[in-house]
Amino acid sequence: MQRLTKSWTWLVALVCLGLTSQLWAAPAEKPFAEKKVVLQISDDDASKQTLVLNVASNLVKHYGPDQVDVEIVAFGPGLRLLFADNSNAGRIDNLAENSGVRFSACSNTMKKVTKNLGYEPKLDANATPVSAGVVRILDLVSKGYVLIKP
């Protein structure tokens, strides 16, 4: 009976995962990953964009896409990484599609940027808006993610 309950739990979890992946365009969290990492980008420095993508890529390469859960949270000046016309868009696409790396864009920063620019910039299709980048990081850390700021 206990085994049956466990099987049902797995089944429900799988169905939920499937539904979640249909509802969200971004890759889902990886509940079975051994390592969970949240990468923060909040710098204006353009070289940091390359660095944070390199770190994500290296983590996936080292542990394998199923064994590491990586989310990149962009806020403040670092939000530029997730603008649709960013020159790294190809790499972001590749990391999201082939490695399951998630990208979160801070909505607070978006509001500020929209005010500064006079129009709302288009976000990368792989970016998921979150209410506040720093809150997203805290939530992930409380779930056991390790915060790294390259």
Binding site: A46, Q49, R80, N86, S87
Partner: protein
């Protein structure tokens, strides 16, 4: 020789694999990476060098026994053996408002000793070579405004700090690296020193972009400029226009100034130059100046190659009087040697260049270039043949040493071998150049 030229032209037309760097210079020099560019990026490079010729003197003519201009080291032409700070450049570039990123700027200053500092504003310790703003707002039509390298020949358009040799080919140096004059040199009492320098740059507006089609990257550019040299307003109301097209098969996902690929390019430029003293008579006259050419560049693995053919019509550099250093008096003390220009002269030439990276730190280079100068005027026609053997040693990615040995030959084809013009040209020495380049 004529057969050789035709054969080389045919090879060019057939798209030979001979060529240099396969890189999109308009993209690299005129734009910044979208969304990932800093507000301010400081950069530059330093090129100290040493040049040597054996300083053979003029053997004939009114300046017999004096220094030969072609055996002196420019831009000062005072010595045949000299250390020089060829270039020392400092610049900034970036996106002035990174959040937007579609407005880019490029600013570069020169502090070395070369034509830029010697001939700009009558000579100055520091001169501005580039100051431009690029607007990337209109799809398929980026706009660059200011002073910058005009779209044209590969040897002139490429970034000088990735140039594989120390000196330019004769055809590029004499037909495209423009010196601006007030007269044609017919005033026998004036050295006719250049009043401005081109440095492959112009002040104006350029529309350009690139796109991928049929597996190749295609780049176009059209520009309108003063055609009057750098740091200078136009000296007439006529404008120069430039047209450029390049199509490149990019190999793999390589990027940057040494991108792997095979490129074909064609370009055309036309303008008007004003002279105040022509054929011994004072009075302003305007002359057309046209330049056009085709070329190809190739880079793959250890190999790189380049070839270009250039044609010139009007305002062709025509050497100096008697091959003497401008400003020197003749032996009879009746005339001053001057730079000369042929307002109606025609010329053409080409170069073939290849390099092989023997080991990651060492590249061996070989280049041949030919120039037929003022070919439409028998007494003034001169032919230049130069073989350049070179080596480059990389200390690291940003620091390298270059050594060049140029085997130089020139002749006046419409004179006998014993005639004074050929006696003089027989004294063109070979040249040794050694340069250290550090980019930061």
């Amino acid at each position: 020789m004529q057969k050789l030229h035709l054969a080389l032209a045919a090879v060019l037309a057939a798209g030979t694999s001979l060529s240099a760097n396969a890189t999109n210079w308009l993209k690299l020099q005129g734009t910044e990476a979208a969304g990932s560019t800093d507000r301010f990026k400081l950069w530059g490079f330093i090129q100290p060098e040493y040049d040597y010729t054996s300083n053979s003197k003029l053997p004939a003519g009114p300046w017999n026994g004096q220094k030969a201009v072609f055996n002196q080291i420019g831009p000062d032409l005072n010595s045949s053996s000299t250390f020089n700070l060829r270039r020392a450049r400092l610049g900034v570039r970036g996106a002035n408002f990174p959040l937007d990123g579609k407005t880019n700027y490029f600013l570069l200053f020169e502090g070395g000793d070369n034509g830029v500092t010697k001939f700009t504003d009558g000579g100055s310790a520091v001169a501005m070579t580039d100051a431009s703003v690029t607007l990337n707002y209109i799809p398929h039509a980026r706009i660059r405004v200011g002073q910058f390298k005009y779209p044209g020949e590969e040897e002139g358009l490429q970034a000088i700090h990735v140039f594989n040799y120390i000196n330019f080919t004769s055809v590029t140096d004499q037909l495209l690296l423009e010196r601006f004059f007030d007269g044609d040199g017919s005033n026998t009492q004036d050295e006719n020193e250049p009043v401005a320098f081109g440095a492959f740059r112009d002040i104006g507006i350029q529309v350009f972009d690139w796109f991928n089609w049929l597996g190749m990257e295609h780049t176009y550019a059209a520009m309108l400029g003063n055609g009057s040299g750098i740091d200078r307003e136009d000296n007439n109301n006529e404008k120069d226009y430039y047209l450029y097209w390049a199509s490149e098969k990019v190999f793999g996902d390589s990027k940057g100034a040494r991108r792997e690929g095979w490129k074909f390019l064609g370009w055309y430029e036309k303008g008007q130059r004003s002279l105040e003293f022509v054929n011994g008579v004072a009075g302003k006259q305007d002359f057309d100046r046209k330049r056009y050419g085709v070329g190809t560049t190739f880079r793959k693995g250890k190999w790189r190659a380049a070839a270009e053919y250039i044609w010139a019509d009007g305002m062709v550099l025509n050497g100096t009087d008697g091959g003497a250093v401008p400003g020197s008096r003749n032996n009879a003390d009746t005339a001053t040697a001057s730079f000369n220009i042929s307002p109606d002269g025609k010329a053409d030439g080409y170069y073939l260049d290849m390099g092989y990276r023997v080991i990651p730190r060492l590249e061996l280079d070989l280049r041949y270039d030919y120039l037929d100068r003022v070919k439409n005027q028998d007494p003034n026609e001169r032919e230049f043949n130069t073989w350049t053997v070179g080596a480059q040693w990389w200390f690291n990615k940003k620091t390298r040493a270059l050594v060049n040995y140029e085997i130089r030959d020139a002749k006046a084809p419409n004179f006998s071998s014993s005639a004074p013009p050929n006696q003089i040209l027989d004294e063109v020495d070979n040249r040794i150049s050694v340069q250290l380049l550090a980019i930061f």
